[in-house]
């Protein structure tokens, strides 16, 4: 029973990270039809921004030493600026480009960011123990819950509720949803295209920054490719959830988290190193069963 609950918490906290990544990718896909492979590198930049830029092997805290109340907005601001710059320099000139061209461009951005990080910080991984207080456990009777996982789950819930309220209740949120459904029609109604896209990049940046901090707190290690597998799993979550549906992205994120956690817990020890192969096999099964994802993007659910 106890181990079941602990596995469940594991699955929820890993799923939370994937869901946050999937939301960041899904939001841009919804509006721009852009599959942003550089999203993982936004996450990496958020993590590196914590330390002093130098190629030395030992990481020196810079922003990472701030009080969390200051740290969080600082990192978010840096990643948001990066995301907005990426839009202005790369994607805005490509507004009329075909979808594959956009994806290739994001691939290029991903490489440029990773190489830039190597140039500034060196290629060797660095240890960084952010927020040691979070490595403890909360005891609930016999149950011991890792503080960091609880923090991860709660943060994710708060962000998701915030995003849902923004999209549902504010005029900018409604404009974003309208643009995601029919960009040209939204512009015919006076919705400013570049503003809506900029907001999507900014929100995507905030989500990436939060993932940076949560993920780094878990692993304690900085490397220039740290966001790449996160973006891959996030993208998988978006696809199995149903491209174009944000609810789908969240569901997909938690599902991928659950699959990976269950495999980690219940695969025979000698097979655990193949965990990700099994996880992707599951993904293929899901796609065979539901080729367009679990949640059909409702835009296609139109009356004929």
């Amino acid at each position: 029973m106890i181990s079941l609950i602990q596995n469940l918490i594991d699955a929820l906290s890993l799923g939370s990270l994937y869901a946050l990544v999937a939301l960041g990718i899904g939001l841009l896909f919804g509006i721009l039809r852009l599959i942003n492979l550089a999203h993982g590198d936004f996450i990496t930049v958020g993590a590196y921004a914590l330390i002093v830029p130098s190629t030395e092997a030992v990481a020196q805290l810079a922003i990472g030493g701030f009080h969390p109340i200051l740290l969080l907005p600082s990192i978010a601001l840096i990643v948001v600026i990066l995301a907005l710059l990426t839009d202005a320099l790369v994607f805005r000139p490509l507004r009329r480009a075909a979808q594959p061209s956009l994806m290739i461009a994001s691939f290029a951005v991903s490489y440029i960011i990773q190489n830039g990080l190597i140039l500034i910080y060196g290629a060797r991984p660095k240890n960084l123990n952010l927020w040691p207080a979070l490595t403890g456990q909360i005891a609930l009777g016999e149950l011991r819950l890792p503080t960091l996982q609880i923090v991860t789950i709660v943060t994710t819930l708060v962000l998701m509720i915030g995003l849902a309220l923004f999209l549902k209740r504010t005029s900018y949120g409604v404009q974003m949803r309208a643009a995601a459904e029919d960009f040209r029609m939204a512009r015919y109604l006076g919705v400013r295209g570049n503003l809506v896209i900029g907001m999507a990049f900014a929100i995507s940046g905030v989500l990436a920054a939060v993932v940076s901090l949560l993920f780094l707190s878990q692993t304690g290690s900085l490397e220039t490719g740290l966001g790449v597998p996160l973006a891959l799993f996030g993208l998988v979550a978006v696809v199995i959830g149903g491209m174009g549906s944000l609810v789908g992205a969240v569901v997909g994120g938690f599902l991928v988290g659950a699959i990976v956690t269950l495999l980690q817990a219940y695969l025979p020890v000698e097979m655990r190193s193949f965990r990700d192969a099994f996880a992707f096999a599951f993904v293929i099964v899901i796609l065979l069963w539901r080729p367009s994802g679990l949640i059909r993007a409702k835009a296609f659910d139109q009356r004929v």
Binding site: S171, V174, R177, A178, G190, G193, K298, A299, R303
Partner: protein
């Protein structure tokens, strides 16, 4: 005074030429109609006026300003509303949210409740996702949404397409109501009869160019329109 003038417009998509040398104008308070067969270039013309498509050549002037090739959102904000062909409702947004999108350029200061009074079917379904509405209800919704943008000029592309005659009557009742309130209208249609009754002036388009242009009164018997529409040689017919 001409509210809108289009001069010598040329539109092409890659190698396909859709409009060649078209000119037209809409005066303040006027209802003007563009008639023409499939592929004549009617929707392309409206798209250029509304800023959705950049023309290859030509000039669009609105209220004395050159708006050629302007951004769609800025043209919308300057008082031109396009109701495009094929009912572009935001399917997952509720009816009320769809209407709200039309109001944001006026900082939300628009009378959604008042407009809903004139569309009882929409009022009943205000919390429905727009994608679930019937075709006629969706057509009502896109017109109501465009009304809330408070344009001076509304461009309406084939409002009667695929609707039952009774619903078409309702759509035209609303359009004529707008005209009575001083709005100018440029309406694209394929069927002649209703337009002859309601428009002030008519342009017949074929092959991307104006074949015939006259007042509805002069074209009342429909014969000249038929010839221009189908391209029969005038002498032979």
């Amino acid at each position: 005074m001409a509210l809108l003038t289009v001069e010598n417009l040329h539109v092409s998509y890659g190698g396909v030429t859709a409009v060649r040398g078209l000119s037209l104008s809409v005066n303040e308070g006027e209802v003007v109609s563009i008639l023409g067969p499939n592929g004549a270039g009617k929707s392309s013309t409206l798209a250029v006026i509304a800023g959705g498509v950049a023309p290859r050549a030509g000039r669009v002037t609105y209220a004395g300003q050159d708006i050629t090739g302007g951004r769609a959102e800025e043209i919308a904000r300057s008082g031109i509303s396009l109701v495009p062909e094929g009912r572009h409702v935001f399917a997952t947004l509720t009816v009320e949210e769809n209407l709200a999108v039309g109001t944001y350029m006026h900082k939300g200061k628009a009378d959604i409740a008042g407009v809903l009074e004139r569309f009882p079917r929409l009022k009943e379904r205000r919390d429905f996702p727009a994608g679930r509405l019937s075709g006629g209800e969706q057509q009502m919704l896109v017109i109501a949404r465009a009304m809330l943008a408070k344009p001076k000029l509304m461009l309406v592309d084939e409002p009667s397409l695929g609707l039952a005659p009774l619903i078409i009557d309702q759509v035209y009742d609303i359009l004529l109501d707008l005209r009575r309130q001083g709005m100018s209208l440029l309406i694209v249609e394929q069927s002649t009869s209703r337009i002859l009754k309601h428009a002030d002036r008519i342009y017949v388009l074929r092959g991307g160019a104006v074949q015939l242009e006259d007042t509805a009164a002069n074209l009342r018997d429909g014969e000249a329109i038929k010839r221009a529409y189908f391209g029969f040689d005038e002498g032979a017919a």
